[in-house]
Symmetry: C2
Subunit: 210 residues, 2 copies
């Protein structure tokens, strides 16, 4: 698949090389294609990636992955241009600046705002509820870390599930996009457990089944 | 310990017998001590339980466990009388009537409201994020189900952790009581996964560690 990864922070820097290694064609949508961290990610992609503007990356892709800080996400979506008919994977979380809370409440979610901004796109919330280290390696002794995803378009959700499953995650379908109201707090719980309550980032949620 | 369990629904009906079997002295705080379901729970407690009014049950207990529907919780707390100095375990969730949402948002939680109602008590949020079946048996093939708990009083949290640990749960300390803002959405996620998105109730969250 042709995948545009918008943003090369912790998350973008892990998922782009993994998908490149799986044979997908990656365009990194960035402000400065010459920046050191962008070149490092391209190198990690082993030649199966290029860096370009956000608009060009999105225009040429079937799947657009938002791996931006939430406050930058609205502008990033606008820079993507026309997203109608594309699958958009929203990895962002509407955290407050101090990372202690969420800026969007139970009657809305960051993902639903993204969907409103990305008119006509099929938005899936995914790769949001755990750390980048778990995206690099979701295998634990007890089993695979779960990736909770949600979205209103089943076909787009299947694509996102396949792309996350390729990392080794156990995919858990959490229904419609409005379930992001539950997944965004779960992301903040992971962040708080890892960085605030002393567990470190080598922790992951798993949905067990009897 | 002397434990008052307020409410004998799904949750109260499971935890009271388990604690009774573990040697604790249980008082069921109920409206009608003669009701069939109350007598069934007492029988399951094997003689180590009595049923009485909410006020009497709470008055004689060191630990008061709120296992009420959230809309009935404020009245239940009032009926408990003076809770100052007691450990209160809040198992409730502020679900909307259709079980599709939460009635309290990210700037507050049901647990914090309970703490405001239960003046002077040390409230711990616990036994809220999973189903009663998992309280009866938290052992899964992958490991023990996790019980995420939070509270502002470390001593009370230790008591709650011990009481939940006795069920076989893996206890995960989620910091202060305000973390209930994250655990209450987690409860709704479990409920939705179980009953709305087709997984059934034989599912449980586990926090894995590398």
């Amino acid at each position: 698949m042709k995948i545009a990864v918008i943003g090369v922070g912790n998350v973008g820097g892990v998922i782009a090389p993994r998908w490149a290694q799986a044979g997908h064609e990656i365009s990194l949508g960035v402000r400065d294609p010459q920046a050191d961290k962008v070149r490092a990610v391209i190198e990690a992609c082993g030649g199966r990636a290029q860096a370009t503007s956000v608009g060009e990356a999105a225009a040429g892709a079937e799947v657009v992955v938002l791996a931006t800080p939430f406050p930058a996400t609205r502008d990033a979506v606008a820079a993507c241009g026309d997203l109608a008919g594309k699958t958009v994977i929203d990895c962002t979380n509407p955290l407050t600046a101090d990372l202690r809370g969420l800026s969007v409440g139970f009657d809305d979610s960051g993902a639903e705002q993204v969907a409103a901004w990305a008119a006509g796109a099929s938005v899936v919330k995914a790769l949001s509820i755990t750390g980048a280290g778990n995206m690099a390696d979701p295998a634990y002794a007890d089993g695979a870390a779960s990736m909770f995803i949600c979205g209103d378009d089943d076909a787009a959700k299947a694509v996102a599930g396949e792309l996350c499953g390729a990392f080794g995650f156990d995919i858990v379908d959490c229904g419609p996009l409005s379930s992001a109201r539950l997944l965004e707090p779960l992301a903040l719980l992971w962040i708080s457990l890892a960085y605030k309550w002393g567990n470190g980032a080598d922790i992951a949620f798993r949905l067990m089944r009897r």
